[in-house]
Symmetry: C2
């Protein structure tokens, strides 16, 4: 590699952040206690014996999901439950054909195995979940009805969201004493709908990696190949949902943090339009930043499950009654569109970083199937992507990393590699004045209007694009956010979906033309030179489908047409 990530850092002086002595003395003991608590949550009756050390399995590019099936690590009943879409489980529970306790036992078992392989959890409390499931079963028995549409559905939660009576730290050691009295609004809404909680999942320091390293519990790994990342920042969600240890996961996304882990780890994930799902109550370095707001959204192995989650959350949960920031747009029933009715603009390359061979192949194969099904395909060279990329990065960092510094320096914890990377976004530690931020907002609004006009003028329904220029990267080697963050700055609802295609080292090699390829930037060189076919074996090829702002319903409806009907991709039946 001729280019190193350190060339991109705006500084190598992080003395304003790190304080090794303070960290070791005051904070590390608390971190060790936190790790012990996690260990204690790994119920022995649900564990399996690993087929080797994690180090060895990682080196071997081990595929734990395949191993799960091949070695029948669950009972037949547990496989049946955990390989049923959540919306069907909910129906079965509502009909009395299945109990919440049975359901949670199955998912709890699979979650703990998932954690053993992928290190997806930050907190495991399956016994608390079983107690809650029992209460729900009792309620059902007594009243003959469910408490809500997600009655008995095991839902995993990104740690960042406030959880009543538990620590919420958001990946910052300085917040390790932050035991919150109340659920954040989203956790509360889900609980009201009948969800069962049993695990809170991993996320990176600062929440600003498309990966997961942190000083609490370290990295999560990819359930399809342990040498690869499960993505991030909703890293643990990617791993646990992709592995089938959760019926539906809840992540958050300010630059790709739902879509990257979904795409990398083999599940689907929706980045909803802003303000449809509550983000109130939790830890974030982006508090008060509204140029490019974070969103919360679902991850699952079926697009219909994403839909059921959104519909239940919005129409029954009515989050606007609890959070003033949620807009009361009811979830509309939109039926699956006919392929022939669809016009899709395809981004083959965003002009910044060229997709790696498996992504280029996957996109091509998907487009061929869409065309065969009658979808009208339009090639789309997305405009102003460099401007969008630069602008969104400045938006993240234009407080001069003030908030991140406060949260990190509080404990003096050591900075992870990708923390340094994201602290170098925009102009790094240079604090902008408000007038500059307003100018960035004006650039953003023009971009949004121009993309809206593009869709209108060309009668395009959706944009299809890579989720990232590669399949899941190797751990701590994901640098480029351009494919995902474009849709954050545009605020377009975007589904990251699985194609049923996986990286194949035999097929997915750079073509002969690549030898002469002249990189358009050092970033592209850094990303592309990381791709060697052997390491990425078995990684899922995930893509993105983006629709019009606030028209999340149409995105999921078209997602079902594409995933279920055209690609016939069934994530419950992979091995």
């Amino acid at each position: 590699m001729t280019v190193s990530y350190t060339e991109f850092l705006t500084t190598d002086d992080f003395s304003g952040y790190e304080d090794s002595e303070k960290y070791q003395k005051e904070w590390l003991p608390k971190v060790l206690k936190y790790r012990e608590d996690l260990e204690a949550g790994i119920l022995p009756e649900f564990t399996v014996e690993l087929p080797g050390s994690i180090e060895k399995l990682t080196e071997d590019k081990f595929n734990p999901l395949k191993y799960l099936y091949e070695n029948k690590l669950l009972t037949e009943k547990e496989f049946k439950i955990t390989d049923t879409p959540a919306f069907i489980l909910a129906e079965q529970i509502a009909k009395g054909e299945l109990t919440a306790v049975e359901t949670l036992k199955a998912f709890g078992h699979r979650a703990i195995i998932s954690h053993q392989f992928t290190n997806c959890a930050m907190e495991l409390f399956v016994n608390e979940g079983l107690a809650r499931a029992q209460e729900l079963d009792d309620y059902y028995k007594k009243n003959g009805k469910t408490v809500g549409p997600l009655h008995g559905i095991p839902i995993s939660l990104k740690e960042q969201m406030n959880y009543r009576g538990k620590i919420t730290h958001g990946g910052y050691v300085s917040k390790i004493d932050n035991v919150v009295p109340e659920h954040g609004i989203t956790n509360q809404v889900l609980e009201n709908l009948g969800a069962v909680f049993y695990v809170r999942t991993n996320q990176p320091q600062t929440l600003m990696h498309l990966d997961s390293n942190n000083n609490f519990t370290g990295l999560s790994k990819n359930p399809f190949n342990l040498i690869l990342s499960s993505g991030g920042s909703s890293s643990g969600e990617g791993a646990i949902v992709g592995f089938g240890g959760s019926a539906i996961g809840v992540g958050s996304d300010i630059g790709g943090s739902i879509r990257a882990p979904a795409a990398y780890s083999g599940c689907h994930g929706l980045r909803p339009t802003t303000k449809r799902i509550s983000t109130f109550g939790g830890i974030s370095g982006g508090a008060g930043q509204e140029s490019v707001p974070a969103v919360v959204g679902p991850m699952a192995r079926s697009v219909t499950d994403l839909e059921i989650w959104m519909k239940s959350y919005i129409n029954v949960g009515k989050p606007w009654n609890l959070d003033q920031n949620c807009i009361p747009i009811p979830w509309r029933e939109v039926s699956k569109p006919e392929p022939k009715s669809l016009t899709i603009a395809v981004i083959y390359d965003d002009g910044l970083v060229k997709p790696s061979p498996p992504i280029a192949r996957g996109l091509k194969e998907v487009v061929a199937k869409l065309e065969a099904a009658g979808v009208k395909i339009v090639k789309f060279e997305p405009f102003d992507t460099k401007l969008a990329y630069d602008t969104v990065h400045k938006m993240y960092a234009c407080d001069g990393n003030y908030a991140q510094r406060e949260l990190l320096a509080g404990s003096g914890e050591p900075l992870k590699k990708l923390t340094k990377w994201s602290l170098s976004y925009g102009d790094g530690a240079k604090a902008y004045e408000v007038a500059e931020n307003r100018k960035l907002n004006m650039i953003r609004d023009k971009l949004r209007q121009d993309y809206t006009d593009y869709l209108n003028d060309n009668e395009v329904d959706f944009i299809l694009s890579p989720t990232y220029n590669n399949v899941a990267p190797k751990s701590e080697e994901v640098y480029n956010w351009s494919y995902t963050s474009l849709f954050n700055i545009l605020d377009l609802p975007t589904l990251a979906f699985q194609t049923g295609i996986f990286q194949d080292p035999a097929k997915d090699v750079w073509g002969p033309e690549h030898a002469d390829y002249k990189y358009r930037s050092k970033l592209e060189e850094l990303e592309c030179s990381n791709y060697n076919p052997e390491d990425f074996v078995g990684a899922p090829v995930g893509l993105q489908l983006s629709g019009r702002r606030y028209f999340d319903e149409e995105v999921l409806a078209a997602g079902k047409t594409i995933v279920d009907d055209i690609l016939k991709c069934d994530l419950f039946d992979l091995f």
Copy 2:
């Protein structure tokens, strides 16, 4: 008066803004031409002879609206048309009982008289409106149907919004050459709905006065008493709609700019929740500022007309198809609530500036009628109003007035008194860093959540409050925005409505307890010492009704119950 407004200014050095030589030489000639164009729009056949010089009438606290009726300055037919609610006019036109041309002739006539007395217009183009009306009549004749729900309705427009082929300057002389090729989205939507345009109305320099002085055409005056202000910043809209020269007006509001002119000038006005009505395409010093966004909304003499405007605009106009920033919440049909079903929290005093005698009396009388009708009244001492006031002022100015300075210094135009006042908001010319802006946003979000929790916890449907601590102020003597800007920072939809009560110098004197009243601030002293009963004779008493964020429909529905059913206030039949 022991306190002067100059004490509040953060600086008396405006040399970075004003440049007399440049202004006189390069810009004043263009301004003079602009004034000539306005004069040319005053069609002689529609003018009346004034009963004295404007100076004399002002001194006499002349009531031009009363004069209009008493001297029958319009034909019977013109009175009939201009004193019919717009929603009924629309029905009559749709049935072929009335033509668009007849309608515009009547309103054009009344508008020109309104302008003669109040100086409400910046541009008058009644002949263009008549041509458009004729086209609409031709369309109707040919097709037997209307082009949309506002077919033939004369609508007045705040100048700030882009108008195809005309100058749009927003009150800044530096923009006097800005002839725009396209309508702003709202003008476009209204045109698509069938509206007829014929006048663009007055607004202050910077758009940041609750009044109207500017270097183009000067001050607008109150149609009920010429010594008083018509409010602002949608100043001309207040005057023309209050006088009946427009069926429905369109204003904008970032701190009270729809509600103040509506309340002062004797009409109703809705400040909708943000993002329901497009603000795209126009001039504003707040571009890119999204901590407290401006909104666009309607002003009219009937609450039902506000409703018809909102409903047509949203459900037929579908602004989200044109402006990516508009949220697709359809306008819901909400029926008028029964008084007995309502719980209203009343703000008698916001803790910052005590209401003047006519406002205190008006509020008391309204509350008595509400209670008599069965409405449950709760006294509400609003919390954190000082924090809200300080925060919203900082939000306006936290770019260190960068945008205002650019727009003003471009021409070096002389600064108006209330421009200096608003340039002193927050910390005046001190530019904040982004981190500080983010903290202000966090304060705002907590305020919003706390007020939401108050409404929830106390089962309160609406908040009733003064629109301002006084009735219409004397020109250029309006300083305090606290009653209106509270609902901008909270982003609650707020109706400014007329009560049918008017200031009476005999009744509305400070009570004996006022002699011992200890002012809580210099601002309060400045405002209260401006109130002498004689000057305010005949000024309308307008109040505010605020509801839940995004629930604009309920606010207007309850507004109809209060204004039409309980107060029986008919603005079409005042004299």
